[in-house]
Every structure is written in structure tokens, then in C-alpha cells.
Amino acid sequence: MTATFFWIFGGIAIGSALLCITRRNPIASALWLVVTLFALAALFVLLDAQFIAVLQVLVYAGAIMVLFLFVIMLLNLGRPGPTDIKGPVGLLTGAALAGALLFQLKVLGQTTLPSGIQLPPGTVAAIQQQQGIVGSVANPLFGAYLIPFEIASVLLLAAIVGAVVLAKRKL
């Protein structure tokens, strides 16, 4: 049952991602990307990462994609215009390179983890049962990963200041 839903949502994610890169209108592209992000949130739920799935919808499908749509509409790029997809030579080169990459990444489909580093099955579910869905993510975040967390806050501050400096006409 879980596997069936997994393949359904995986198919939705791949299909809408393909539509996202082939639509001519940037707004249509952005909306298909939102569909992909929602399908990925469903995959996260099926992989026992419910809190990450909520964040995916709130942060990605909500905040980041609104920012994208905001810029597209601000620059008035939603009108139908000449296509921005490259000509046959560029298209063929891109397809060949992407195909080579997929050929190399395909091995991931058959990979198995060495049993030495694998947790016994049900460990993550037990941690989530014991500490709660949010607590199981928050405990390592504010414990072992505290310093990266603080660095991320500095990065976000730098990004806010940088965005204002870049986008402002006159400081």
C-alpha cells in the first residue's frame, strides 16, 4: 500500500517536473514546480519525515515560490513571448549530458547500504514514538548541530542584507 502511494506521488513529482522545464510561460513553470514540491512533501510523509513535509509546504511551496511568482509578475514576464528554449544543437547537447548523468545516477536504484552503518529496522519510528515527531528533529538540531544552526542564522542575515543592497535602486 505504502509502496503504491510512493510510486504514484513519485510519478506525479517527475511528471510535473518535466512539465516545469518545458512550459514556455515562467508562471506556468513556477506553478508546475509547486505541484512537484507538494508531491515531494507527500513522499516525505511516506518516508517517516512528517515535520519535514510540513516545512516543505510552508517554506518551499509557500514562501520561496511566492517570492519567485512575485518577481516574475514584478518584471511582467508572464506574457507569451518568443520561446527561451535553446535550438536543436543546444537541446541535443543538453539531452545527451542529462542522459549521461542519469545513466550514472541509475546505480542508486540498486544500491544497498552496508549492514555495519545501518540502524536496526524500526529505530527511527521508536525515536519518533518516544520524543515526538518535532522533538526527534529538534533534539539533534539544538544539540549536536547547534553550531551549524547558528551559522545558518548568520547566513540568513547576510542574505537579507545582501538582497536589500542588490535590489535597492539607490542606497
Binding site: T36, L40, Q56, A63, V71, L108, V137, L155, A159
Partner: protein, 99 residues
């Protein structure tokens, strides 16, 4: 048990993102393809977190934080370029190219 399907889907999504970057000329669409690639990697992290512990899910946070910072700065750069060139096509961004 869902590890291999998840890794396969993530590989396909990553490839679609790469293909989009190679095919398109619109800077905003290329940016969205980069977000797609970041999300494919997030799927890998979450799938492996099921087998290797919660650290993978914590890393998704950091990827999201970096993606948010990247989107804010990148879109500000696109806005600044649009003011100069009145276009977001990468064909017109050849200031550093000789000739």
C-alpha cells in the same frame, strides 16, 4: 524498503533539474531548476535518514535555509540585471565575454 525507489526518483528529479538548466535561457526558470535539484537532494537525505538516523532530516533544514538565502539573493541579482538590460535572458548577459 523504500530506499531504492526514493533514490531512483531523486536521481530522475536531479537529472530533470540539470536538463532544465541546460535547455533554458530564462534566468528565473533556471533558478527554479536549481531549486528542483536541491529538492531532489533533500529527498535523498530523508530517504537515508530512515536507515542511518535523524541527522539526515536535520540536514534538510540547512538545505532549506541555504535555498531560502539563495532565492533571496539570486532574485535580487535578477532584478538588478533586469534594470540594466530590460531582459532576463542569459543570451544578453555577456558582459564578461570577449568580442
Amino acid at each position: 524498503m523504500l530506499l531504492n525507489p526514493a533514490l531512483l526518483i531523486s536521481a530522475v528529479l536531479f537529472t530533470i533539474g540539470v536538463a532544465g538548466v541546460l535547455f533554458r535561457r530564462n534566468a528565473i526558470v533556471i533558478f527554479m531548476c536549481v531549486e528542483l535539484m536541491l529538492n531532489a537532494v533533500n529527498l535523498t537525505f530523508v530517504a537515508l535518514a530512515q536507515n542511518l538516523g535523524m541527522g539526515g532530516q536535520v540536514f534538510v533544514f540547512f538545505v532549506m535555509a541555504v535555498a531560502a538565502a539563495e532565492a533571496a539573493v539570486g532574485l535580487a541579482i535578477i532584478l538588478a540585471v533586469y534594470r540594466h538590460k530590460q531582459s532576463v535572458s542569459l543570451q544578453n548577459m555577456n558582459l564578461l565575454k570577449d568580442g
